[in-house]
């Protein structure tokens, strides 16, 4: 909105809510990136820190929910403002889950011994990078109420899904080659799944952002979701 | 910043003190004004009461009339019958009275009794014709000269007479009922204000009957129905000016139109009422317009919203709510009319009217005019009667105002 509310405090409340979402998003992105790094470098301590830091994300979610409910009660937001607040509420839950995925990845790091030359490992950072970017872009789109940016995020999920398929096939082959590898590969499979889920959640956020910004839901065509 | 708060510095305190002092002065002025008005009012009332209360009493003297021995010959049966008053009227009652007076109190006593005594004797005989058979002792009202002498104002001769009668133990005083029931007369002790009172009453009835409906309807029309243009503005200005026109001009108008042009009976309450109505109507119209304007538009809207027509809104809602204000204006107008003398003098209500009017076309007088006429009289006896009449007028006005205020309170509604 180009113009602010006549009640400036209302604007402040909405800005604070958006800032919270931004902060959560930052924490989640950092967690994913860090978990990838710890995975590649076998940094067990780093992984432990990630698990610890997830608590912060949970706390932020609680805070966001509290603020959103308060805003609804005290400001009686209408139209675009109301959609924004409801979207913020939902997005905070989703971002918290993304953070949980990063935590799950970190938890598996100690369990992966010198997995060494597993090919899949080289694909995953790239996959994670795309997923992280999706989260970043979609949350930026939320703060800026940019429906088009949200639509663009939708498209990148295909890349993530393709990565996942490829990793899946690789790991499957790996497991079939040598039953010794099953343990490691299973972990890696789950890790890949978590990253893929993170990507999906980013698209969910994109749908919420689109609705908040335009008041309409994305069509089937726009979601481009595979059946 | 730690400046001392503005309230506490000296300049401010000085200003405050001046302000309070100014308030006190103003209040004292107000009290003084009220006090002065009350003082004047008290002065008026006390003076009137002082001078006038004696007018309500009259001196009586005891008289012994030996009817069988007097020259009075009256048919007792006729007295008892329907023509009794005729018989009394044609009888010469003065003779026996004077005879008896002289016999009792000496030669000077011919001045003792006057018309009032004659009247009283006539009434006594009508009441009890059997008096004619015996030697009766009567208390009869004295004439004016003796009356005022007894009250301390008379001349030498009268005073002596009074002293003589008093010594004989034959002097008394009683409430002067005649004052309230009789009309004008030449002898002050015999006058009454009933004639003038009735005349006033009839005149005011005519005034109200004409001015009130016309005034109220005119006010309603001008406020509710008339379009707002130059003509209605002109009418409004004219009515406002009419209310300020000196009353004697209305008298001239009455003279020219009602008497000379329309040849209505002179000195009748009808003409007096018409003239006073002309004078009172603008007051009622102005008060009416104000009262109607002060009815809140929300009531009108509510009535219109329910589907009332314009007439229904005006007569079912606006008029009842405006009625207290209209009645107040009417009270003011009528009170003024009651006390008007000049216009009524011009239309001839200044004659000597000895009998009260029967209807609105009979010649009559009104109280203020009566007071004016009496105050002009030479005879000392009229002084107390004038003041007494003023007291009666004040009471009459109080009663009328009281009635109007009662009516207004009955119609008062909170909205």
């Amino acid at each position: 909105m180009a113009t602010g509310h006549t009640l400036k405090a209302f604007d402040d409340d909405l800005d604070r809510l958006r800032a919270l979402i931004s902060e959560m998003g930052g924490l989640a992105e950092h967690a994913i990136r860090e978990s990838m790094r710890c995975l590649q470098q076998r940094d067990v301590e780093g992984a432990a820190r990630i698990v610890e830091n997830d608590k912060k994300l949970d706390a932020l979610e609680v805070e966001t929910e509290r603020r959103a409910v308060q805003l609804i009660a005290l400001r009686a937001p209408m139209a675009g403002d109301l959609r924004d607040v409801v979207a913020a509420l939902k997005i905070s839950g989703v971002v918290e889950r993304i953070g949980d995925y990063a935590k799950n990845i970190a938890k598996r790091v100690p369990q992966l011994e010198d997995a060494g030359k597993i090919e899949a490992l080289s694909l995953m950072p790239e996959m994670a990078r795309i997923a992280t970017e999706m989260v970043h872009d979609v949350l930026t789109a939320f703060v800026e109420r940019d429906a088009e940016a949200a639509l663009r995020v939708m498209k990148r999920d295909d890349a993530v899904d393709d990565f996942y398929d490829s990793i899946f096939r690789t790991l499957l082959t790996h497991m079939m080659e040598d039953p010794q590898n099953i343990g490691q590969s299973a972990h890696l499979l789950f890790i890949a799944k978590n990253i893929e889920r993170a990507g999906d959640h980013a698209t969910n956020i994109a749908e919420m952002v689109y609705y908040a910004a335009t008041g309409r839901h994305m069509t089937e065509a726009q979601t481009g979701k595979k059946p | 910043m730690n400046k001392a708060p503005p309230r506490q510095n000296d300049a401010m305190q000085a200003r405050l003190r001046k302000r309070y002092a100014a308030e006190r002065r103003f209040r004292l002025l107000g009290l003084a004004a009220i006090g002065l008005s009350c003082a004047f009012l008290a002065f008026l009332l006390i003076t009137m009461a002082w001078k006038g209360l004696s007018g309500f009493t009259r001196t009586e003297a005891r008289l012994v009339i030996d009817f069988p021995r007097s020259d009075l010959v009256l048919d007792q049966a006729a007295l008892r019958g329907p023509g009794g008053e005729q018989v009394i009227a044609s009888a010469n009652l003065e003779g026996p009275i004077n005879q008896a007076a002289v016999a009792a109190y000496g030669e000077g006593a011919t001045e003792l009794f006057s018309a009032s005594a004659t009247r009283a004797l006539g009434r006594a005989l009508l009441d009890d014709p059997a008096l004619l058979n015996r030697r009766a002792e009567l208390w009869l009202p004295t004439g004016s000269a003796v009356d005022i002498a007894a009250k301390g104002e008379g001349n030498e001769q009268a005073e002596q007479l009074v002293a003589k009668i008093r010594d004989a133990g034959a002097l008394g005083s009683s409430f002067n009922m005649d004052f309230l029931t009789e009309s004008d007369a030449t002898d002050p002790s015999a006058v009454g204000i009933w004639g003038a009172l009735k005349g006033s009453f009839l005149t005011i009835i005519v005034t109200i009957a004409l001015a009130f409906p016309i005034g109220v309807l005119a006010a309603l029309y001008l406020e509710e129905f008339a379009p707002r243009n130059r003509w209605t503005d002109l009418i409004e200005v004219s009515i406002n000016n009419l209310a300020a026109v000196p009353s004697i001009i209305f008298g001239l108008l009455g003279l020219a139109v009602f008497l000379n042009f329309m040849h209505l009976p002179r000195s009748a309450p009808l003409v007096g009422g018409l003239t006073l109505a002309l004078m009172t109507m603008p007051v009622i119209v102005i008060a009416g317009r104000n009262a109607i304007t002060s009815v809140p538009p929300s009531i009108r809207d509510a009535a219109l919203g329910v589907g009332a027509s314009k007439m229904q809104v005006v007569f079912h809602h606006v008029l009842p709510l405006a009625l207290p204000g209209i009645l107040t204006g009417t009270i003011i107008g009528v009170a003024r009319a009651l006390g008007e003398t000049a216009p009524l003098l011009m239309i001839g209500m200044r004659a000597f009217i000895a009998t009260p009017p029967e209807g609105i076309t009979d010649p009559a007088s009104v109280l203020p005019v009566q007071i004016f006429l009496w105050s002009d009289e030479v005879n000392r006896g009229f002084v107390e009667k004038t003041s007494a009449a003023i007291i009666v007028l004040l009471i009459f006005m109080l009663l009328m105002n009281g009635l109007a205020i009662y009516l207004r309170n009955r119609f008062e509604r909170r909205w």
Partner: protein
């Protein structure tokens, strides 16, 4: 950590959106009722005050077409066209001086009482032009009742307040019939239980909320078809307001109701259709649920989110 980004303006409809199943703008009643029956509603359910199914073929109870109103030289309304349907509450919202009360007063010709007011355009009640010289304005005002902003009961008894209208329109043949009308009206207005023992007391002795319900009973007593309400709750406390809103909800099926209100939450609570007025124009008219969740016009959005002024 992300910084706060400056907020972009609302994206314009240049975003290419394929044709969607989406409620059409409801200036044309035929289209409006059409979408009510359409299966792929974007917002199923009309919100808390859900609407009975409207017969698509039913024409509106009152229709206003291209209304212009002038007070002297100043134009108060420009080209306003709205339909008022039966069994529906239509709310008019907008900032002060935008013309919503003026429009409401056109519907029962109360503007006739203002000498400088001139009304142009067509207003129909059941298909008849109400400004036609042959239309009896007294009858019109009995069919289109009005409740005002400040409760204005007559300074008469409660009974008389309600009985006055039926009496001047001759709706009751005798005292028992009048009693029945008074009782029915007071019951419908939700006031009967509170006043049935004191019908002869003055109407002005009631509390504000009761007075307003008395005014509603008075309007109902003449058996109107449309009830116009001009900010009926603005002088009342929240509890009295809630009672009146509940009353409006109960009356909805029986009368077509149009309500002008300053309070957007109230419009959101009681109405099924809302029209937003601004500077004498009607900017947007549509389903209440849509106006308040996703208005189409920028001015509407600004007003209802509190960005106006």
């Amino acid at each position: 950590m992300k910084e706060k980004m400056p907020l972009n303006p609302l994206p314009t409809p240049s975003v290419s959106i394929a044709a969607e199943a989406h409620e059409a703008d409801l200036t044309k009643p035929e289209e409006a009722v059409g979408t009510d029956a359409s299966p792929s509603l974007a917002n199923p359910g009309d919100g808390p005050a859900s609407e009975p199914t409207v017969d698509p073929a039913k024409s509106p109870k009152m229709r206003a077409e291209n209304i212009d109103v002038f007070y002297g030289d100043k134009q108060a309304l420009k080209g306003v066209s709205i339909d008022i349907h039966d069994d529906r509450v239509t709310a008019f919202i907008g900032p002060s001086g935008c013309g919503k009360s003026t429009f409401l007063r056109c519907l029962n010709r109360m503007n006739d009482t203002i000498p400088s007011a001139r009304v142009h355009g067509l207003i129909e009640l059941d298909g008849q032009d109400i400004n036609d010289p042959r239309m009896d304005v007294v009858q019109l005002r009995a069919r289109v009742g009005m409740v005002f902003q400040k409760p204005n009961p007559f300074p008469k008894s409660i009974y008389e307040n309600v009985a006055y209208g039926p009496r001047i329109h001759g709706l009751a043949a005798g005292k028992s019939e009048m009693d029945a009308i008074v009782e029915k009206s007071l019951k419908r207005a939700g006031l009967w239980d509170e006043v049935k023992d004191r019908l002869q007391e003055s109407g002005t002795a009631l509390s504000g909320g009761q007075q307003q319900r008395l005014c509603i009973a008075r309007a109902i007593a003449v058996d109107p078809e449309v009830i116009l309400m001009d900010e009926p709750c603005s002088a009342l406390d929240p509890i009295a307001t809630a009672k009146i809103e509940e009353l409006i909800h109960e009356l909805r099926g029986r009368y077509a109701i149009a309500i002008v209100t300053h309070n957007m939450q109230q419009a959101a609570r009681v109405s099924q259709r809302t029209a937003f007025f601004h500077l004498g124009e009607m900017v947007e008219y549509g389903k209440t649920s849509e106006i308040f969740t996703n208005p189409r016009e920028r001015r509407t959005q600004d007003y209802i989110t509190g960005r106006y002024g």
